[in-house]
């Protein structure tokens, strides 16, 4: 099948009948629901750009399974070049939508399962990898969107899955049959869940032997019996029902459109099961997924930064302060932070490595550093955007008032900028900055792909601190320094004895 266009993707969702709830209502037609439409448009962009020759290099790849051209969001990275193109794709899509385009979680889940099932089969004689490749070939040939469902509700975070009061705190296997497994539980915060074709599930943490039933990975079509979705609320989300202007980014919204996915006695046939009890591999699959996912944030959020930097410059110019030195300085600061994060994303891709499966993985240390920077710098550049845009981003009256002729006149007067700038455009740009800097986008930068502590744990684990201590000890003259000895042509002890003698001579002689 050829690559889907944006419209073909939306068409493909129409035939899926999901059980979706939002604000107490059951939503029968996902594609027609105005609350969901901007999120669907954003995901459609990932399809549309793959058809444009200008972006094809970045948006598509050659499948290692079939040799066919596939959307990069369904591709297993085969080289460093693939890893680099992946983050370029993330930045590009952030620039085109100004929001989360939802598909990276699924992409990372596919790659993490590919890498881990290979190792599992090699070590344990299972056949998960072959099954997974069959599933992947299906995803690639049909050009499907996969939601990546890792995060369990987790109840008491200090307890392992098997020690929780409720078994549903973590998604788990309830029963194994000859035909497959039956699972129950939930996955929370799942981006793009209601407008995907497949849900790809993986465990959320390392597991012990007692947790074997929670060490489960599989894929199900979104409309599988027993699966239901409860769509999340976001700051100012219902503005899109009454005013495109007030919603700020009415085309693509903000964040990805998350949902709680509830699994109630869901049957998964064995050919779609990729881990069922191999608890020793839960940690590997989680770490591999998290590494890929954290590397993305230095791409997508930098794409968003490009938009908000552009918007800030535009508003400053419209207000007649575009050339003020502190504005130029602040914009430069935003650019510098964004490009720092971009450098991290490129670095963890360029420093990636081939895994035994043949797929390439990012450099985990640098990927965690990337995401940790994002948890701080997004707040910082959004703070500057708010500074430049002014308090109007949260005090503007609504579009409904702007359409009243008698109010319009005075509002135009209140909010107009320098001569020659259309006040309607000022309203649009201020609302865009409000949308991007005030609402859900900030905690997404904090918690998406894991909270900062999760990154710090990974960084500390890979810090090579012993080696850094040895470096310091060598320079501090606690350890021998063979290069110093070569440079001075003496054993260090003799050299320092000579130095001491010289000093003594100077002092006393």
């Amino acid at each position: 099948m050829a690559l889907m266009t944006g419209q073909a993707y939306i068409e493909s969702l129409r035939e899926l009948e999901l059980e979706v709830y939002f604000m107490g209502q059951k939503i029968t037609r996902v594609t027609e629901e105005p609350m969901f439409q901007p999120h669907i448009h954003t995901a459609a962009m990932t399809y549309e750009l793959a058809n444009d020759p200008e972006y094809r290099e970045i948006m598509t790849a050659t499948s290692n399974l079939t040799g066919e051209t596939v959307n990069r969001f369904t591709h297993i990275h085969q080289s460093i070049d693939d890893l680099v193109k992946k983050v370029r794709m993330m930045r590009l899509l952030g620039q085109k939508t100004g929001t989360c385009f939802q598909r990276c979680v699924g992409l990372d889940a596919l790659n993490a399962i590919y890498v881990t099932t290979f190792d599992m089969d090699r070590d344990r004689g299972t056949d998960y990898h072959e099954k997974f490749k069959n599933f992947l070939a299906h995803v690639q040939s049909k050009d499907l969107m996969s939601a990546g469902a890792m995060t369990d509700p987790r109840g008491d975070r200090s307890l392992r899955p098997s020690k929780q009061n409720s078994p549903d705190a973590y998604l788990h296997i309830k029963e194994r049959t000859n035909e497959g497994i039956i699972v129950s539980g939930a996955k929370a915060h799942i981006t793009g869940a209601i407008n995907s074709h497949e849900i790809v599930v993986l465990p959320t943490r390392a597991m012990g032997a007692d947790d074997a039933d929670y060490a489960v990975s599989f894929a199900v079509p979104v409309n599988t019996e027993g699966v239901k979705y409860i769509f999340s609320r976001q700051t100012n989300d219902t503005r899109r029902l009454d005013s495109p202007l007030d919603s700020g980014n009415p085309k693509y919204a903000i964040v990805g459109g998350e949902a709680v996915i509830v699994f109630k006695d869901v049957f998964v046939p064995w050919e779609r099961v990729f881990m069922a009890g191999e608890h020793e591999y839960a940690g590997q699959i989680v770490e591999t997924f998290a590494g890929y996912h954290r590397s993305n944030y230095g791409g997508c959020k930098v794409g968003l930064a490009d938009v908000v930097i552009g918007a800030s410059d535009w508003v400053a110019d419209a207000h007649g302060v575009g050339r003020a030195s502190h504005i130029v300085d602040k914009l430069t600061e935003m650019i510098s932070m964004a490009e720092t994060c971009w450098s991290c994303a490129l670095a963890c891709s360029y420093e990636g490595a081939k895994t035994p499966s043949g797929a390439y993985n990012i450099n985990p240390m640098l990927a965690n550093v990337t995401k940790l920077n994002i948890t701080r710098m997004v707040y910082e550049w959004m703070r500057i955007a708010q500074d430049i845009a002014g308090g109007k981003i949260i005090t503007l009256p609504s579009e409904m008032d702007l359409t009243q002729p008698e109010l319009r006149e005075v509002l135009n007067e209140c909010f107009r900028g320098r001569e020659g700038v259309d006040v309607d455009d000022i309203f649009k740009m201020l609302r865009l900055i409000e949308n991007m800097s005030v609402g859900a986008g900030l905690p997404e930068a904090m918690h998406g792909a894991g909270s900062p502590a999760a990154q710090k744990i990974m960084i500390a684990r890979r810090s090579g601190i012993e080696q850094k201590r040895a470096l310091a000890e060598t320079i501090a003259r606690i350890r021998p320094d063979k290069y110093f000895e070569k440079i001075v042509g003496l054993p260090e002890t003799d050299y320092w004895k000579n130095v001491a003698a010289r000093i003594a001579e100077q002092h006393h002689g």
Partner: protein, 103 residues
């Protein structure tokens, strides 16, 4: 009697290594004794090359075009030829891989 194979040993830059590259190479050399000779001379033509890289990225393996016309065995941090290896087994595993690729 055929001459022992010559192994050229090359090191990566070692910017953030998971292992002590020098020490690892020094552990491999005696394990090859009698069957293989080793050299650090980049200009000698060898039968095999051993890359000693500090981390999984293994930048020497990524060289394009490769500077090594002969077969390469690669230590990539705590891996040999992409397979994870315990630190204490690194030298032994690399030496075994070198011997096997000479057969």
């Amino acid at each position: 009697m055929s001459r022992p194979a010559l192994v050229r040993i090359r090191f990566c830059g070692g910017c953030n290594p998971e292992i002590d590259r020098g020490e690892t190479a020094q552990q491999v050399i005696p394990l090859l004794k009698g069957r293989m000779n080793t050299t650090f001379d980049p200009n000698l033509s060898a039968d095999l090359t051993l890359h000693v890289c500090g981390c999984a990225h293994a930048c020497l393996d990524e060289e394009s075009p490769s500077a090594d016309p002969e077969p390469v065995i690669s230590i990539q941090g705590l891996r040999v030829n992409r397979e994870p290896v315990e630190k204490q087994d690194l030298a032994k595993t690399a030496a075994k891989a070198l011997q096997e690729s000479c057969i």
